[in-house]
């Protein structure tokens, strides 16, 4: 009803109504993006800034290697090759028992930075 009124008297749109329209337009991009995300990941929690997300941030760098598991697995499969990590080498958790080959090698750290070499422009 009110919309019809607006159409009939477009010039008489009040300042407040104008502002509402503008706010709605400003809000739309973010809300539309949120809808897109929820459509792709329906299980996404309500509180994005909550515990899970922050805990993940705090646990950066965690690598899992249990020497006990490793030796037990080695003993079990004496005659077989130890399974090596799948394509995602970073996730050595769960059922897969990591081997020393899976862990990232300590990188050679004595290479001079390229910023310090080369031409001076």
């Amino acid at each position: 009803m009110s919309q019809k009124q607006e159409e009939e008297n477009p010039a008489e749109e009040t300042g407040e109504e104008k502002q509402d329209t503008q706010e709605k337009e400003g809000m739309l991009p973010e809300r539309a993006e949120e809808a897109k995300l929820k459509a792709k990941y329906p299980s996404l929690g309500q509180k994005p800034g909550g515990s899970d997300f922050l805990m993940k941030r705090l646990q950066k760098g965690q690598k899992y290697f249990d020497s006990g598991d490793y030796n037990m697995a080695k003993a079990k499969m004496k005659n077989k090759q130890l399974p090596s990590a799948g394509p995602d080498k970073n996730l050595v958790t769960g059922d897969h028992i990591p081997t020393p080959q899976d862990l990232p090698q300590r990188k050679s750290s004595l290479v001079t930075s390229k910023l310090a070499g080369g031409q001076v422009e």
């Binding site: 973010e30 897109k36 994005p48 909550g50 760098g61 965690q62 300590r106 910023l115 080369g118």
Partner: protein
Amino acid sequence: MAGAGGGGCPAGGNDLQWCFSQVKGAVDEDVAEADVISTVEFSHSGDLLATGDKGGRVVIFQREQENKSRPHSRGEYNVYSTFQSHEPEFDYLKSLEIEEKINKIRWLPRQSAARFLLSTNDKTIKLWKISERDKRAEGCNLQDEDGRLRDPSSVTALRVPILKPMDLMVEANPRRIFANAHTYHINSISVNSDHETYLSADDLRINLWHLEITDRSFNIVDIKPANMEELTEVITAAEFHPHQCNVLVYSSSKGTIRLCDMRSSALCDRHSKFFEEPEDPSSRSFFSEIISSVSDVKFSHSGRYMMTRDYLSVKVWDLNMESRPVETHQVHEYLRSKLCSLYENDCIFDKFECCWNGCDSAIMTGSYNNFFRMFDRTTWRDVTLEASRENSKPRASLKPRRVCAGGKRKKDEVSVDSLDFSKKILHTAWHPAENIIAVAATNNLYIFQDKAN
């Protein structure tokens, strides 16, 4: 100290014509992870420029003296010293890999011929002394010229060693190692105006150190909840006030800033001031909190204002007004309609830094596609520039860039969909007194100057 006085600091970002000066680093298509620059910082006088990278290395550039025989060198920055600051470590007890990436470098004010800086990775802060040696002693009594020690009993006559000039050698030595004080990852270090202490901040705690003492540090802020399940926010950045040695600020992942006064209590868990911009609850979305997270906080040189960077904007706050910022500058508002994909590719968590010019009349911050933005606070004009090797002829003027948010793309505009989100400018620095800026574009360091310089 720097700031208001600053040697005839000219008008801010936009009445100037910014020109390419230098670019450092390799042109490789394949960038090695270790070469990604992770921090850039000018010294207090601006004659030294330090960079840190993901490989744990520090490279320091020095500005050449104006040279009559090479007039075109015009104060160029050339390599002065480079050293391996941090190495990768593995904490076996906690099964934690500790990256060697240099998170921050902060210079100490100069007190002698030697230069000092603090560099930090996720867990350990180191104080480095950079000193010059241009003389060598010859004719020592207890040593051969090649350094082999002589048997004292074989010395029958004494002579006075002579100091002879030698080629300049710049040495970097770690003088202090401040370790084992952080359970979580260090995001900030800040030297106090008392020149004796400094703070280091991780996700949940801020510690106070004395530069001379490495086996003790005082915890001044602790926001760890008794039950980690109740964790709702983390510390994202912290800084000491430039003049008041008892004042510090720290920002959070929820977009708030707390100012603490160390005189009020030993543990500053209760803030003296709380800065937060009121949010319109009707506009809240899934992304609201994430994009409000403050990635950097910097006091103005004057100490009257502070600036915060969140995902889409830069805000200037008056320390006397906690209710809202006095200025808000949009960095790349066109990304608001791309938040879904930016969340999926993790770009929404990128931590951009921001910086003031010497006289606080302009501010700068980075964006994507190797674009960076400058805002002039007096004229309220802003400009978008690009750090690119395509525009790297000596003294070539930088052309302002424009991003087209939608609709018809004009000639010379870049459309939002063609922005390269892997080309992020997270770290920038502005010379403390002159219009010289250093911009880190992944593995390359660009130096730009204004034409008048």
